[in-house]
Amino acid sequence: MSACDRGILDPVGPVGQAEKTILINSTAIMLAIIIPTMVATIAFAWWFRRGNSKATYLPDWEYSGAVEMVVWSIPALTIMLLGGIAWIGSHDLEPSAPLKSAVKPVRVEVVSLDWKWLFIYPDQGVATVNQLVVPAGTPVDYELTSATVWNVFFVPQFGTMIYTMPRMTTRLYLQADVQGSYDGLSAHFSGDGFPGMQFKAHVVPPEQFTVWAQSARGQGRTLDGPAYVELTKPSSYVRPMTYGAVAPGLFDAIVAGRTAQLDLPQAAPPTGRATAKPPGG
């Protein structure tokens, strides 16, 4: 069925795969309880209809310890089982936890803008807009923030989505194993240009990723202060583009709300940085 092998049901990495498994297992566990309940609803209502002289009428039957025991136990046991799944799943799939892999993660800094995505590759010294390029089979360490209102970074076939929030950073590790181009989007309403805030995520072989980064480096535009200010102007449905150089410390400056200082020849080192953890959490 073509309806069932798309989006989060067709994951291309370990995170999405694990989440799909939990989704399907939990659904199956609950359906095992719910389908009999639905059948019983129809069966009881029909059998005990007023016109049915064969059904016994128990006008005062309003309590049964045994039945009460069973009706509390069924949902309680189900929820204990699912609660276990939730507990283990939350820990195994905690977005900020590094993935188990022998391969060194690639770092990507993600910034949501009105209304497009900026991806900075700090180690490669390049940046892209609305175009995410990641090596296959390699964990990617995303650090995310927003230069505007809240958004959510989401590539359905990769798995876990996460908020991008102004003056705060979130952390997300994902990995994609299957080469190809995948749809990415903002999954949190952010204003008039929101539906155009989509991007393509390209999963390429690791060697090709290295080649791509090297060939992009030093080519084309530079993402410096003025270019960044230009980029922050609201626009939607923006075509993918690549910057061959990025002002150092741009991401940290965005998080700190000090992008104005990038107009100086040398970017000032940022100070004071909020984290995504709530106080005490």
Partner: protein, 668 residues
Amino acid sequence: MLGKLTWDAIPFDEPIPLLTSAVVILAILGIAAWVWRKGWWPYVWNEYITSTDHKHIGIMYIVLALLMLARGFADAIMMRAQQSLAIGASQGYLPPEHYNQIFSAHGTIMIFFVAMPFVIGFMNFVVPLQLGVRDVAFPTMNNVSFWLTASGALLVNLSLFIGEFARTGWLAFPPLSELEFSPGVGVDYYLVALQISGVGTVLTAVNFVTTILKTRAPGMSYMRMPIFCWTSLASNLLILAAFPVLTVSLALLMLDRYLGFHFFTNDGGGNSMLYMNLIWIWGHPEVYILVLPAFGIFSEVAATFSGKPLFGYRSMVFATLAICIISFMVWLHHFFTMGAGANINAIFGIASMIIGVPTGVKIYNWLFTMYGGRVRFTVPMYYLIGFMLTFVLGGLTGVLLAIPPVDFVVHNSLFLVAHFHHVIIGGVVFAIMAGYTYWFPKAFGFMLDERLGKAIFWCWFIGFHLAFMPLYVLGLWGGTRRMQHISDPTWAPWLNVALVGAVIIGLGIALTVVQLLYSIKTRDQRRDITGDPWDGRTLEWLTLSPPPHYNFAVLPDVHGEEAYWTRKQTAIKEDRLIDEPDYKPIEMPINSPTGVICAFFASVCGFAVIWHIWWLAILGLIGAFAIFVWYAWQDEHEHVIPVEEVRANARERRRIRMEHLHELSQST
């Protein structure tokens, strides 16, 4: 002089809001003129607008809810049409700035001005009757509550014609709702309207908690209260605890917008995460504020139409209170994807699932209420069975969303949209329609048309599934909500099915109007003179339909859990009523224009605050306060109904009941 208000505020260049406003204004004027010509103004003024009778206030709430349902549904069908049209190269017929207002208004109106007034309307009408008392604890305040709610509804609808509504979604998350990103008056309309109606809602809760705790018929101990009273108590306790949080969150946002504070702004040390937490500390209990009374309605329906007491009454009470408490401990599940950490996510996820346990118990208790019963397939029973079949699946997707790793891929998606419509339509709306059909004869003395009622049920049932099942699929594809434009053309067939579903629901709403008009027209053939048309079990069926202002000539003595049923069975067995009691004159609260005048000034004040017309805001505030001072200075708050009138009415009532009783005795 007029603050930010200029002629530009009126959308002369946008035909849709302009035309709608014109039609609505003409309709209101037309109805007002018609009532005037018929000479009904004194009746409407005395019996409804200024009434302190809980039954009439309840009816006004439900009328308000029905009107707002039409508005909220108009928004819904426009959204569905836009999403079916704006696919691929087409941008549809609604630009983003208009579409974004529509989905924000749809959510705000459906929750605050449809679901809430319906539920509060039923509580108003039913709770004092079921408790066997004459009115709520604070009858004039009850009237004030209603009018403040209506004032909020008025302001939200005024934004259609003057200015704009919020474009931020129904919870107005900052920083999007801050001045920096939403400089217009839309968010101010949202904030002010909800603040005013919020006061009304809190006053309602004060009123009902007091009524249920302090004024019950003699002998009605807590464990003898009908389950609808229990769920109403739980719901009102939740309002008391949760709505002040809403008031504070909105007030902080107002301080940001009006006085340049920095609670939730990007700069100045603001933190928008705080708002997210605060608003959901209100927002999650709000779900249960709506659904608990819905469960109460279904419990009454299940018992009545199965001809049996509710199975596991004590379990039901316990489950209700468990939901009431746990619902305050789950708010974080609305933002698992914020990165709070594994322990926090897991704990809140499990707490959310635990709510599934008492809810599941309730489903089984309704099931076993039918077991061994004589089930009558009336319209309310259709809704109960439809609800049980629908709600379990909505619960399933809810538990899925409560599992953090699953939420990580469906958070904020169309899957979520499908889920909450699944439980709100399948739970709350079905209950509202069941309650509307069930208590209509009590309110007006005649039954609603049964055939049309069943047709309406099928429209909701089929329409709901067609409208929202496709959204589950699109959500699993990764589709998110609030999209003014859809890039992927393969979504089209699913969105078109959803549109068809919405049209079918619309047909159901239209048929509800037809059913009402047709039933009024043929009311003489569908009169219920017995006061007990469904063979009911609770005290509201003891009195006349419609009940007299004072409800009961003498407050009923309650023995056992099913006060009226026990009494009725004894009477049938002995073929006689209880001995005629000693009638006494009855003191009832007099009418008061306090509510409507207060709400008038509150609306003026609110409008002025929205448009920064400060002198008018101060005048409005003074006016709203002055009416309370005036009210406090009144000496007379009650009038006495003479004993002769009470006795005459009661004797007539006894005669009818006696006849009805003979019929029942002969038939058994």
